[in-house]
Symmetry: C2
Subunit: 513 residues, 2 copies
């Protein structure tokens, strides 16, 4: 009851221009270009690993497209040094003995090529200590190496697709204020036996990898997470221009990995052939974000900036449709909608499509550091005072169900009022809670109002997030149209609002390490 | 109440030797070799398409293994002429323009090789009439052809894995007697516009395929059913030694097919490279079943035969684990259990591992025709009178929940009693209903008591049945142990029973066509 009363009174304070919302809805729901935008960002551009040619294609297209829709100052803005680009240019591997079977596998990001088409026996390497490696000395040149695992493939008893239930949303809404900076991290006891064992295992794996490289191993097989042909990808080496050399490594589908492993463990001879070609790009180590604006028109307010964004970079096994062409396309579409209805915003509206989110939110962190201040010292720049709010989208293709406040409870009644016209589209929940793992955190860390929307999970966690199945087919047109419409409406309301979005207390600088 | 009364009175008539059941349970549940058997039939033998080297490896291993367990008369028994063997010896295809992406795709069975490593542009062929083809004349040599589709990939809102609920089983038990020969087939009106359209479409597709072959097309892409990397396979040509030539054709995963199609339809240039090598085997066109026996020991009854079986052949995209290494391994394990407990059966017990089930139950039909009689004329052979019962398993890896009577209602109370000791393992349901699609039908068609067990569906229909994901990992150890134990117990009870299993009335010969 108290909550309902609060929302009621807040909605009374916040005036929502219903005619503007209607215009935005008409454009966003009935004249959408979001799927066309997503098509260009995924199918046409291809995989968009940080600093890869695929990301460059998508960035250049986005700048051109935003300009063609009437945005100004569209550009690639450097945010700092990232490292090497990388892409796959040939990817073939097959079992050839005891019979032929082409496997589903993806080179780990930033790993090198095989030495052309290689053919070799699969060798199971078991080593708990450095001396265990001695028995393999001189025996692994050109061989294909596999490691043991106890992993069995598990079938889920739940559907791949999911949406939030009313109960789940109500529970999120009832959440209380999280401590500043998010939930406290689990503390590891550096002296615990578990931690020591973990440290030893990690060190041993590094030792093994160096040994394998020195032994001129042909290829390493790693078991990719996933099942049914869905394989999740990771990186196998650093993107730094100074990175140490590693051996070629192939993230192999669970079914294929376990088949090979079972055969080898049963004493059956297994041979593979593989031809992996990967290319590194060293010419420009700089990272870039796509930036474009609709300039503000109110004399007093046009220096204030509302930002929206999502990361454009992806992993390399597919075309990063839900992670995060979806968010990028929605944000571009929100800008398009506002131009299409000929909106002249009071404040300046700026879109940012980040890069290198997948390696540590680098694009947004670099942008925030350049424009707003230094998280380490909390030394702030003048633009810090002018940033009204940042809205982010990066949780897949699911429609917007509400918004996370990141502890900024004063913003709650405002957003509740803004969501009210979208009840029929499934949105309305406001939670004071935090969500992490993406670019609004770069803003939040500096005390700027940075928000991520609550989205239906769909098959993000079961199938698409960093997998070889994150393709255009996973995108839900209806959901993306809804999301773009709501984002455009939020931007409109933020721009029209008398005051800026209320802020949390500035965080204190983190203790020096 | 009536049903319970019937079951109760039937169980009073059927005496189940609880000590024997206990021995079978102990061997089957605690000393099982079913997973080891399944490993050899799948991982070690590989795909087992009819008359392929993989099927031959599995057949030879099965004969050897059954013999080593003490079976006699283990052999490959020819059942008639099948046709050509075929296997994949190289399978590589990738998008190379507008960027590199290796696709998930499988050659359609019995299609030929590409002309080595080919590279070509993808051309969308749209032809509703023969004259529509004219515009492609002279333009398709070496090209890669794709067809349009309206198909979108659908995400299921249900879990991949399923087991029968108590309600579903109760409904099956409550089913009434199906008409002889199964449910009546839906009659097509040969004069209906729909039927005419279907006939035209099929004829047009045949015309197109011949045109493409004559134009020396490099490769045809077909959309494989399935999603998430799971791709279901089919055949693309006849296995007959007299089959007409066709062009190479690749069953392409939904995601990859639709990506290529979207790009081409949007006017984006797409190029592929592919290297498909398939091999045909013409030396021996004969089909074979694996046969082995535990001879009967009762003077009066040893000429009577109890048969158990499942088909050993599979499709080629994976190792046919659930379809049907599972059933084959369970049946081999049932034989092993009976030998392991040193059972001296009254009647002769015979296992048959069929081939060419996937092309039309050919192995079992051929066997039945050679041993029991002619379905067309209903001319019966002497062995027809001696066949006690045939039990089949071919519905995947799910445990046995009961048995289909195929309308042989007199067998119901008997089986109900035999299932009673397995209530704790989830089995107990008897339905008078039919199930189709596998080898017990060859027996049923000739009026012989042929039964298939009710099995939990698991992910048979969602993921494994004829797909590239039908691998050993899909096998559920606990379920297969349970199934082998129940089958062994059924065989034991059939062998010990005073009378043979009651039969239905003999069918009349089908009308000559």
């Amino acid at each position: 009851m108290a909550a309902a009363g609060l929302a009621g009174s807040a909605m009374a304070q916040e005036v929502v221009d219903q005619a503007a919302v209607a215009k935005i809805r008409e454009e966003g729901l009935n004249h959408s270009k979001v799927m066309e935008t997503a098509f260009y960002l995924t199918d046409v551009a291809g995989p968009r690993l940080s600093n890869s040619p695929g990301l460059k294609r998508a960035q250049d297209w986005a700048v051109k497209q935003l300009t063609s829709w009437g945005m100004v100052n569209a550009k690639l803005e450097p945010w700092g040094k990232f490292g090497k680009g990388w892409e796959v240019q040939k990817n073939y591997a097959a079992i050839t003995v005891p019979y032929y079977h082409a496997i589903i596998a993806i080179p780990k990001a930033w790993t090198p090529s095989t030495n052309g088409l290689i053919k070799g026996e699969v060798v199971l390497v078991k080593a708990d200590t450095t001396t265990d490696l001695d028995k393999y000395k001189g025996k692994l040149a050109g061989k294909i190496v596999i490691f043991d695992t106890q992993a069995k493939l598990q079938r889920s008893k739940n559907p791949d697709l999911s949406r939030y239930t009313d109960e789940e949303l109500a529970k999120m809404e009832a959440a209380t204020l999280a401590p500043a900076g998010g939930a406290p991290r689990r503390q590891f006891d550096a002296n615990s036996p578990q931690f020591a064992a973990m440290r030893r295992a990690r060190a041993m794996r590094a030792t093994i990898n160096e040994f394998l490289l020195n032994e001129k191993v042909g290829l390493i097989l790693a078991q990719g997470r996933g099942t049914d042909g869905t394989t999740f990808t990771t990186n196998g080496a650093s993107y730094a221009d100074t990175a140490k050399a590693v051996a070629p490594e192939l993230e192999t589908s669970g079914e294929d990995y376990l088949r090979i492993l079972r055969l080898v463990k049963a004493g059956q001879k297994v041979e593979l052939e593989a031809d992996i070609k990967t290319e590194f790009f060293n010419k420009d180590l700089q990272g870039y974000n796509v930036i474009a604006e609709i300039p503000g028109t109110d004399k007093k307010l046009k220096d204030q900036v509302i930002m929206i964004g999502g990361h454009l970079d992806s992993w390399h096994g597919a075309t990063g449709a839900t992670d995060n062409a979806a968010g990028s396309a929605v944000m571009m579409e929100a800008m398009r909608i506002l131009k299409a209805i000929n909106y002249k915003p009071k404040r300046t509206i700026r879109i940012a499509l980040w890069s290198s989110e997948e390696q540590g939110l680098f694009g947004s962190r670099g942008y925030v550091a350049q424009h707003f201040g230094d998280r380490a010292t909390m030394a702030l720049k003048p633009e810090h005072a002018k940033l009204d709010a940042y809205y982010n989208l990066d949780n897949g293709t699911g429609k917007i169900r509400g918004i996370y406040l990141q502890g900024d409870s004063a913003a709650g009644p405002i957003f509740k009022a803004w969501l009210a016209p979208f009840k029929d589209l499934g949105a309305g929940s406001v939670t004071v809670g935090n969500t992490g793992g993406t670019d609004h955190q770069s803003y939040d860390a500096l005390g700027l109002p940075g928000f991520q929307f609550i989205q239906d999970g769909m098959d993000y966690n079961t199938r698409t997030h960093h997998s070889n199945q994150d393709t255009y087919d996973r995108l839900s047109e209806e959901d993306l149209k809804q999301a773009a419409t709501i984002v455009a409406s939020f931007v409109y309301n933020t721009s029209e609002r008398k005051e800026m979005i209320p802020r949390k207390t500035l965080p204190t600088p983190p203790p020096a390490r």
